[in-house]
Symmetry: C2
Subunit: 247 residues, 2 copies
């Protein structure tokens, strides 16, 4: 956990509740608060330098975003995901991103697709010179693709699904293994998109998501159909840098 929590929260967001929502989301996604862990309202509020009111509002928002689970009179817990829930999220992504592919194929300008391609090459070169597990977290390739579809409602849903999956992946302490393969598949997808080949793009996207899902589930060690991991408090088994498998 970075020690900037006590610092001024309001330069960007003009309300403690909004600022707290951002800070909390970050803490959850980067693993500062591990999956299954409970959020103690009075401790957390005082450590953030605010009172429980704005904190509770932030918790409500993150709950409807699917990052927290709150049980009445018992508290808010960082959400954990069963194998089935992860499959469902990938199915949701397929629904959204396959439609995004259709829209992009029909609407995006050549220049926009070229930008996407350039961004991808940039990622690739940065991955080559780094140790391999530094994946740019800023804005995922898939989210950029959805952004190109030019539909805010679609983007919002996609972002939510991605955040949930990012949290789900953080349930394992594993290093990413599929980053390079994913980038290659992204490249293929952009190529067929630039050729306006909708059928090809659709097929590639389906295969890509299947690979990604298989990798995620394997990494999480959830082979069977077992139930959701129960709420284990104090499991802070993740790495310090917060990078998790992309995609």
């Amino acid at each position: 956990m970075s020690e900037s929590d006590q610092s001024r929260l309001l330069p960007r967001n003009n309300t403690y509740a909004q600022a707290t929502e951002s800070v909390l989301r970050e803490m959850i996604l980067d693993g500062s608060i591990g999956p299954g862990q409970r959020l103690n309202e009075v401790t957390l509020a005082s450590s953030l330098g605010i009172s429980r009111g704005p904190l509770r509002e932030a918790i409500q928002r993150l709950t409807s975003e699917g990052l927290l689970t709150v049980i009445s009179h018992r508290g808010a817990f960082v959400r954990t995901f069963s194998r089935d829930e992860i499959v469902e999220l990938y199915e949701l992504r397929a629904a959204l991103e396959l439609h995004a592919v259709r829209l992009v194929c029909a609407r995006a300008s050549d220049a926009e697709l070229e930008d996407l391609d350039a961004m991808l090459s940039d990622t690739e070169s940065r991955m080559r010179e780094s140790t391999g597990h530094a994946y740019p977290q800023e804005l995922d390739f898939h989210l950029r693709l959805v952004l190109l579809a030019g539909n805010q409602a679609l983007m919002r849903s996609a972002l939510e699904a991605h955040r949930q999956l990012s949290l789900a992946r953080s349930m394992s302490g594993q290093r990413p293994t599929r980053a390079r393969a994913a980038v290659v598949e992204h490249g293929e997808l952009v190529a067929v998109l630039r050729a306006r080949d909708l059928e090809g793009a659709t097929a590639l996207m389906i295969r890509h998501l299947d690979h990604s899902m298989a990798s995620a589930i394997a990494v999480l060690g959830l082979p069977g159909d077992e139930d959701a991991p129960t709420t284990r408090s104090d499991d802070r088994s993740r790495g310090a840098d917060g990078t998790v498998a992309p995609d």
Copy 2:
């Protein structure tokens, strides 16, 4: 506004905040609080017999559901929709429901599809004997279809999109005009689904959603690409029974 607001809120939900969320959502969707109208926290809280805390939590939740818009230091407003936003929501529905069609076609049992068909006939007969604008609001045909896909994440997104469109439709005081046509198209869709004709079902769904969107936009009188209607307070132009165009 029904006068049950002051009555006990907690039989079903065990928290005032949860109960208030349900009550407020209903009030928004049935038009008790018109689109664009502002929610006065102290007035509303006292009329619900609670304090501002739980009310504010409910407001946060409905905001992230897309039914309210809150502006810092100015208040929460029932959301209004521009033409473009409605188009976006229909596009989102297309993404979700076309995928649902694929899943249902592959997974749903014959018995489940038969149930869906029976439900439809029931709706049809009830529509025939009523005056025509009483459409069963309980659970829309499309949502039942998504439910059959057996994916909670998908269902959640679809439900949210439907609620937003339901609110959008309530912006006009018009009676529904397309209910009968919609039911017919639903019947055709179920027929091809029962034949496991994925291509046919997809085509029908696309056409059906296009019709539905065109009707919604026409009814709302938003022909051009004009901006979002600005926040008009005190526009209570809707009918009293809360029924709005289906679909």
